[in-house]
Point group: C2
Chain length 191, copies 2
């Protein structure tokens, strides 16, 4: 039998198809065929096609928030913290390009309740990141040339855009890309 559990296989197939064709353009039938299960099995584990989509978001956001918390808890200086946040973000994104692509494109399809939950998480991420930049700007470690919130928006914007041009088989390994992006952002914040 297959190594992965049935629900895992279903989510995997769904991510691949949603990333390639979009959520609406992918039929439940295609998902079950790609996962080698039946419709019955899918609806046994997931309440609806939307639930499947939400499951993808949940796991991605969960990983990113955990990384952020870990980095903040380490309590290093601002430049190191910012570098680590960006590197971690770029690397997770690179290894989950499909998830991120689906996420960025179809996020607005969440229903009101889930959208609220998602916004709260994103807000927390954003505020935490911004606080690091603001503190460093206040004590002169970073330049205040550009407001902290714009800097954060720029950094997060780059990462979310990554799935549109990043190719796993491209010339630059994710670690190299992560370092370059971090360098650029830090250069922008340098006094």
């Amino acid at each position: 039998m297959a190594r992965r559990s049935t629900p895992e296989r279903i989510v995997e197939a769904a991510v691949r198809l949603f990333a390639a064709k979009g959520f609406d353009a992918t039929t439940v039938q295609e998902v079950v065929e790609a996962a080698s299960v039946t419709k019955g099995a899918l609806y046994h584990y997931f309440g609806s096609k939307d639930d499947l989509l939400f499951e993808i978001y949940r796991s991605l956001i969960g990983r990113q928030m955990a990384d952020l918390d870990r980095i903040i808890a380490a309590g290093e200086d601002a430049a190191t913290t910012v570098r680590r946040i960006i590197v971690s973000l770029v690397e997770t994104t690179a290894e989950s390009v499909d998830e991120t692509a689906v996420f960025v494109r179809e996020m607005h399809k969440l229903d009101a309740e889930r959208m609220a939950a998602f916004r709260a998480e994103r807000r927390r991420y954003h505020e935490t990141f911004r606080a690091v930049v603001e503190k460093a700007q206040a004590d002169g470690t970073f330049s205040a040339r550009v407001p902290a919130d714009t800097a954060v928006l720029i950094a997060l914007g780059v990462v979310n855009q990554l799935p549109t041009w990043y190719r796993p088989d491209g010339p630059k390994p994710p670690s190299r890309l992560a370092a370059e992006i971090a360098d650029f952002v830090l250069a922008g914040l340098r006094p």
Copy 2:
């Protein structure tokens, strides 16, 4: 009668709806109702729902390419040129948030032929922008800390991500936002 021509009204309504609900989730019926026309009128002017989508891309890309060519033709120094490219991009994007949002989210739905045409245009934009940065890096005007292509990818990434967080009624006017983003990018390129 309405001021705008029928096809213009149709495209306008389509952009608004596609941006709000997504292309697939919007029915042709909703578009014609929002535009106060009938299905017959829509199919009189557009061959298919996809044609409508393509029309949105075409006009947006056309405007951006024209702006770029105009800026390059002015032949100013690298820093001014880069600033102008970013400002022009941010401002067009801000005044066409809906178009850009649709574009970023649904671009992958283009058929092979149109996708190829689009990629060629994007490539030209990218290469033109990169050439400016590379030249300035070669003569020492810009730092070569971060490769030119990464810098360009970052700059364009920020702009494409703009529709997800930019609000026309937000505290910062587009010109201010454009200036901040340009400042940040130029700071990242400063020797």
